[in-house]
Symmetry: C2
Subunit: 225 residues, 2 copies
DNA sequence: GTCTATACGTCGATAGAC
DNA sequence: GTCTATCGACGTATAGAC
């Protein structure tokens, strides 16, 4: 929608020198979020932290929202310990690690939730398409992992991989929010899903006799999911 | 949770005549949401739709946010077909019905998401405590239903009811958002969870041979969950 | 008690000078 | 590329009419 190359989210006049400055802005901005929370993070307060006027920021980003999205992308990208190597492991494993890493970055879940909520609004074309694509991509990745697990026999085969993927994303997002509001909601709750997704239990002879206290909540969910 | 006392969210000077006017405001406000989306719903635009000045609204509600929370509560309350009778059915059933009803009210999920996101912010004491309590209450109700299902043998007993409840809330909230962004994500995905929660499958002899296409995604999840 | 009028400070965004 | 100036709209607060 902008210059010669549209696919990047908030680029404007961005060559060589520009991208470096742009990166500076993003790095400083996430710190402002950590300090003051996402809500009070106006263009002006970010600009102040950088020692420039707020209008200057709009030379690098088309709007406040696009700056915020870029900040989120940046923070999330550098959240990955290993820079590139695609995440390894089953779908639940990946999500548990991601969720744990997310809540470590102050303000990140707030920022994400705010942006997602805003993306639901009617007029918000940019945010809407960004998160629509993002959700689709994440679901695609997870669905692949689910199918892998099913082929391996780690995950029960009588559920649709795409639907499980959507479920996993929803559960992960929702649990991070609940955890922020009330840390007694343990993030490991996601692993309960691993238990549920596990294969129909080793064919043992007891049907349902005295299903004791042996909760599978924090033990290994059997195979690596 | 409503009348005879102060724990109500946004009451100010409110007797007899006042509460009626207050109700008018809430009813009209949700319509504004339906028409213009939650985002553009400023105090001033709601006031305009009511034909009053925006300052007038602050006689009934302490702040914009408390008005929005009250609007949400009001819309959600009248969303229930049967006015009082506590919801019947298993945990998944209840959630599926609620989710379906939610997305029918234009702007309601947007409003909810916006308020939840705002409640995560540091300074927001009112919103934070409201949603913390709300989540706790909903989880409590669902956990009871889960335990009931477990006692009845409808739900596998090797998972913690509280954790399943948190999972259900998260999944429901998250799916509504994903559905709004991309209706190809079916709300019925929640019922996949019902399948997963079902008892360990009737003890049949086939271990895992040719797990065919028989997806349990939209059929009955066996018992009523 | 209900409401209008008005003012304050801040916001995102834009235009134009340097 | 960055500034200053300015715009309209916002949430909030207060004074005072009825």
């Amino acid at each position: 929608m902008d210059d010669p190359d549209p696919p990047v989210i908030g680029r404007r006049g961005s060559y060589a020198k520009g991208v470096a400055r742009r990166q500076e802005i993003l790095d400083r901005a996430i710190e402002v979020f950590a300090e003051r929370g996402a809500y009070a993070t106006s263009l002006r307060s970010i600009a102040q932290a950088l020692g420039v006027s707020h209008a200057a920021l709009l030379h690098y980003f088309d709007s406040r929202e696009q700056l915020l999205i870029a900040v989120y992308e940046n923070a999330e990208a550098k959240r990955h310990a290993v820079p590139d190597a695609p995440e390894q492991g089953g779908p639940v494993d990946v999500l548990v690690r991601a969720a744990a890493a997310n809540v470590e970055v102050p303000g990140l879940v707030e920022l994400y939730s705010t942006l997602v909520a805003a993306s639901l609004e009617a007029g918000n074309i940019t945010g809407r398409s960004y998160f629509t694509e993002r959700f689709a991509r994440v679901r695609r990745d997870l669905a692949d992992r689910v199918r892998g697990g099913q082929a391996r026999g780690d995950i029960r085969a009588d559920v649709d991989a795409e639907q499980v993927a959507a479920l996993l994303v929803a559960a992960s997002d929702g649990l991070q929010i609940q955890w922020l509001l009330d840390p007694s909601v343990r993030l490991e709750t996601l692993e309960t899903l691993a238990t549920l997704l596990g294969p129909p239990a080793a064919p043992s002879t007891d049907d349902r006799s005295a299903a004791g206290d042996q909760q599978a909540t924090d033990g290994q969910p059997g195979p690596r999911l």
